[in-house]
Amino acid sequence: MKAPSLGEFEELVLLTVAAQHDEAYGVSILESLEEKLSKNLNISAIHVALKRMDEKGFVRSHFGGITGERGGRRKRFYVITALGKRVLDQQYAVRTSLYQQIPKISFG
């Protein structure tokens, strides 16, 4: 079975989830991405990406405990799955090999 595809923005989110292992939730992903990409993102985009990847099986999630923050709402933490990691690796491999085919010409 061919693994479901991974969109560009989804890939960024998935990378962040993997990087923040077990500490990743909506706002933390948003903040980290905004910092890295230095542009404003909307939280709804993150939510949609997370929902899709959840459905595709790239991430799984669990709820944290209730705290005094966020008006008493629980955080939903995301963790990358084995499938997710494999897809990331494939994607990385494809890009790296393509990148290495670039001839060494000067861009001076």
Partner: protein
């Protein structure tokens, strides 16, 4: 953090978002909001709203399934069960509701039937929207008079000269001759009403022809088209009648006719009722139309499609002037079917008419329906406190608001439809009486329009009545309801008071109108007209002679006999061509003229102001009598014995008669000249007969009449009946409004009764405690009725000025009217107050007399 994100946005999110994602999404957005809030609260709020909106996308929107789809039917069954249990448990309020609503609906239904019938009059023609009648405006000294009669040449010229006119016909209506005609075949004689019409009649009026062709039937001068009804009477069957020869006889025209066609008997909602049609050419032979100055026939026309009435009217306005420069008469066309409802004219323009009654009763129907509806709402909200626990428990076990709303609407709609069933029953029961009062033949035959409107009205009433409890009660917090915290705020007191005030305002207005209409009708009915109309009968005759008169006079039981052209209430002909010594030359007094024989003044019991009645003792028959009004206008002093010239003939004034009302009381008394005529000129004979032996006298009269008029049918009328018929419309309004007002008051009182019962029940403990502390029975009655008294008094205060205004408007149409007395209003107010007190009293006295132990014991 004490700050909260915008509530509306949050509620919206809760409403649309899937449960599974809600917490995550909300939590993240709240966190972001809290972060931003420290920088700028406004921006944070805006971003929050924006974020919520961005989440409104298919990925997060919850699937919309209605929760109770699976047990839909069970729920409805459950609601029905609860409804019926409630009916059974609170029988009084159930009955009050049922009776109130059903009588309200029944009234509305009856009025609806009546209004529909009024609106349908004359609307049955195929080309109704193109069928117009030409009306003529005559300019008189005292304003414009609009008449139906038009010059005899008009129909032809209109058709020839105006392209818009497709067909036009002249019609001499059955009312033109004071008397009806007689048709006879062999030895069957029938008195019937006929009209003379020109050839194209059936092309303009789409009456259905059973036999004969519509362009042929009236081509012969002596053709006659008769109704199916008349054909059956004369020949037993319609086929038999065609081609038969028949004799027609009136005062002016007599001859043999050939029946060339049969038309279907006219429907009851046709204003112009006739049984046979004759050719207009025949009428013209004896009454040639002499130019444009005189008017006899009515003119009807069928206009081309898309003719605009206003443009057409502008075109024909001065049509007569183009023919006869001396005439100042103007014309206008009015749709034929409009004439029934808009049959009064002011300044040469249609100005209402029967439509006023149609509107009046429509308003009354709405009033009554509103009162009944208000009742229902009031009682339902009042009852609500009994149902509070039910609602609380239902909400606690998970009933959502929609199903509660649905339950209450279902309950009230069910109630409304129960009432409708009862109302239909009531209508069928009372329709015969209603028909008698209105003089109509209404039936409750279910056509689709009726069924739809009735169901519509019922559904509307049910929903309206149920809406307040449904939406109001379902909104409470279950916890508060079950704790009993709501009992004080729940009552909806303000609204209920407002509704009671509204209800009583309408009731008081109805009481006042009934009082005033009744007084005015009484005034007209008992008004001294200046002549006696009781026990006077009159009939038409052909060959009146002194011998006939004296034979009548010899009949035992006949007190007096006289002839003349006086018919009560009918407008009279007249002249301004009377001159007398000392008359200002350009004085143009218009005198109504009456032709009387010796004896009529005595028969009618008119009183003389001066001089004497006509008498053979004066020698010459050239005698004249004026009424007092005429004397004032002429300015003659000591008139008796003076001579006046009328129509080139000298007449001596023999007396002055006191003013009498010869026309409808809508009109003022006008100057009037009474001219002595030989008795054989008189078309109408009036006979005053003794009371007690009417039957025998009339029988004897008939015998004498037949001996002298072998071809005519003895057809007499009592003057009193005739006079009553003049005010039939007012009488009907009076009777009907009395009934409807009583029903309205009854319904209001039912409501008040229910409310009083409710209040007494709710304050039972309070009453018990007050009594223990020493309050008297009377004190408690006063306490309980105080509220209601205030409401009713306020309602009276609102209603009286309103009704004063309306009453004045209505009375203005009468020339002789009652003065508005303060006690009509005070009386109506007092009556309303007394009725309210009585109703409330029934309940409060019962409540006040309760033993305090009884009501305080249980807890």
């Amino acid at each position: 953090m004490a700050t909260h994100p915008p509530k509306m946005a949050l509620n919206f999110l809760h409403w649309f978002c899937q449960e599974e994602y809600l917490e995550e999404i909300e939590g993240n957005m709240v966190e972001l909001f809290e972060q931003q809030y420290e920088e700028s609260p406004d921006k944070a709020r805006r971003t929050f709203v924006w974020n919520v909106l961005l989440h409104f996308r298919p990925a997060f929107i919850r699937p919309f399934k209605i929760h109770y789809t699976q047990n839909h039917r069970a729920m409805i069954r459950h609601n029905f069960l609860l409804t019926f249990r409630n009916f059974k448990r609170y029988k009084t309020s159930f009955l009050i509701n049922l009776i109130g609503l059903s009588s309200g609906l029944a009234c509305a239904l009856l009025i609806y039937l009546w209004v529909q019938d009024e609106l349908s009059v004359d609307k049955f023609f195929d080309k109704d929207d193109r069928l117009f009648q030409v009306m003529q405006n005559m300019h008189r000294d005292d304003g414009m008079e609009t008449i139906e009669a038009t010059p005899g040449l008009l129909a032809k010229s209109l058709k020839e000269e105006l392209p818009e006119v497709v067909y036009s016909v002249s019609v001499i209506p059955p009312t033109f001759n004071a008397s009806k005609g007689v048709v006879s075949v062999d030895d069957v004689q029938i008195k019937t009403s006929g009209q003379y019409v020109s050839e194209d009649y059936f092309k303009v009026f789409s009456y259905k022809l059973l036999y004969g062709d519509k362009s042929q039937v009236l081509s012969g001068k002596n053709s006659m088209v008769i109704s199916e009804n008349l054909a059956l009477k004369l020949f037993k069957s319609a086929e038999n009648a065609v081609g038969k020869i028949i004799a027609w006889k009136t005062q002016e025209i007599s001859g043999l006719c050939l029946i060339s066609g049969i038309f279907e008997t006219l429907p009851a909602n046709a204003t112009n009722q006739f049984d046979l049609l004759l050719n207009y050419a025949w009428f013209e032979e004896t009454n040639p139309s002499d130019g444009w100055g005189s008017s006899s026939p009515h003119t009807y026309m069928l206009l081309k499609e898309d003719t605009r009435p206003d443009q057409f009217n502008a075109k024909i306005r001065d049509f007569i002037k183009t023919k006869d420069a001396n005439s100042d008469a103007t014309l206008f066309a009015q749709r034929y079917s409009d004439r029934y409802l808009y049959g009064s004219y002011e300044n040469g323009m249609p100005a209402g008419g029967r439509i006023a009654y149609v509107k009046l009763f429509s308003i009354i129907a709405v009033f009554i329906l509103a009162i009944a509806c208000v009742n229902f709402m009031n009682l339902s909200t009042a009852k609500a406190s009994r149902r509070l626990k039910e609602i609380g428990i239902k909400k606690a076990i998970g009933a959502n608001r929609n199903s509660l709303i649905f339950q209450h609407l279902q309950e009230s709609t069910l109630m409304a439809f129960l009432s409708l069933a009862l109302a239909v029953l009531l209508v069928t029961l009372f329709l015969p009486q209603f028909n008698q009062i209105t003089g109509k033949q209404l039936t409750l035959h279910p056509d689709s329009q009726l069924i739809l409107s009735v169901l519509g009205i019922t559904l509307f009433t049910g929903l309206m009545a149920g809406s307040y409890p449904a939406f109001y009660l379902s909104g409470f917090q279950p916890v508060a309801v079950l704790k009993g915290k709501l009992s004080t705020t729940l009552s909806g007191e303000g609204l209920r008071k407002g509704l009671v005030i509204f209800q009583f305002t309408l009731s008081v207005m109805l009481i006042v109108s009934v009082l005033i209409v009744y007084q005015q009708i009484e005034l007209i009915q008992s008004k001294n007209l200046g002549y006696e109309r009781e026990h006077v009968l009159y009939f038409d005759t052909e060959n009146m002679s002194n011998a006939f008169a004296s034979e009548i006079k010899n009949i035992p039981g006949v007190l007096d006999v006289g002839g003349g052209n006086l018919t009560p209430g009918k407008a009279l002909g007249g002249t301004s061509g009377i001159s007398w010594e000392g008359k200002v030359p350009d004085d143009n007094i218009f005198f109504s003229t009456l032709w009387l024989s010796y004896g009529l003044i005595e028969t009618l019991g008119m009183e003389m102001a001066q001089g004497s009645s006509f008498s053979e003792n004066f020698g010459s028959p050239n005698q004249i009598i004026f009424n007092e009004k005429a004397m004032e206008a002429m300015g003659l002093t000591d008139p008796i014995g003076k001579n006046v010239t009328i129509g080139g003939e000298e007449r001596q004034i023999v007396g002055i008669v006191k003013n009498f009302h010869f026309e409808s009381l809508y009109e003022e008394v006008k100057p009037c000249a009474l001219l002595l005529a030989p008795i054989h000129f008189a078309p109408k004979v009036s006979v005053k007969i003794q009371t007690g032996t009417e039957k025998a006298t009339i029988k004897a009269l008939q015998k004498v009449y037949q001996a002298h008029n072998p071809d005519l049918v003895f057809d007499f009328k009592f003057m009193d009946d005739d006079y009553q018929a003049l005010y039939a419309a007012e009488q009907r309004v009076s009777t009907l409004s009395r009934y409807f007002a009583s029903i309205a008051i009854l319904i209001s009182c039912l409501g008040l009764f229910g409310l009083a019962a409710f209040t007494a029940e709710r304050r039972l403990k309070e009453i018990g405690i007050r009594k223990i502390l020493g309050a008297s029975d009377f004190g408690i009655v006063r306490l309980l009725s105080g509220d209601f008294t205030k409401m009713v008094i306020l309602a009276i205060a609102i209603a009286l000025p309103l009704s004063y205004f309306i009453a004045q408007q209505w009375l203005e149409s009468f020339a002789y009217r009652i003065d508005l007395q303060w006690w009509y209003f005070a009386g109506a107010g007092l009556l309303a107050l007394l009725i309210a007190w009585f109703t409330v009293g029934l309940q409060t006295v019962k409540a006040a007399r309760v033993n305090p132990v009884e009501c305080l014991r249980d807890e």
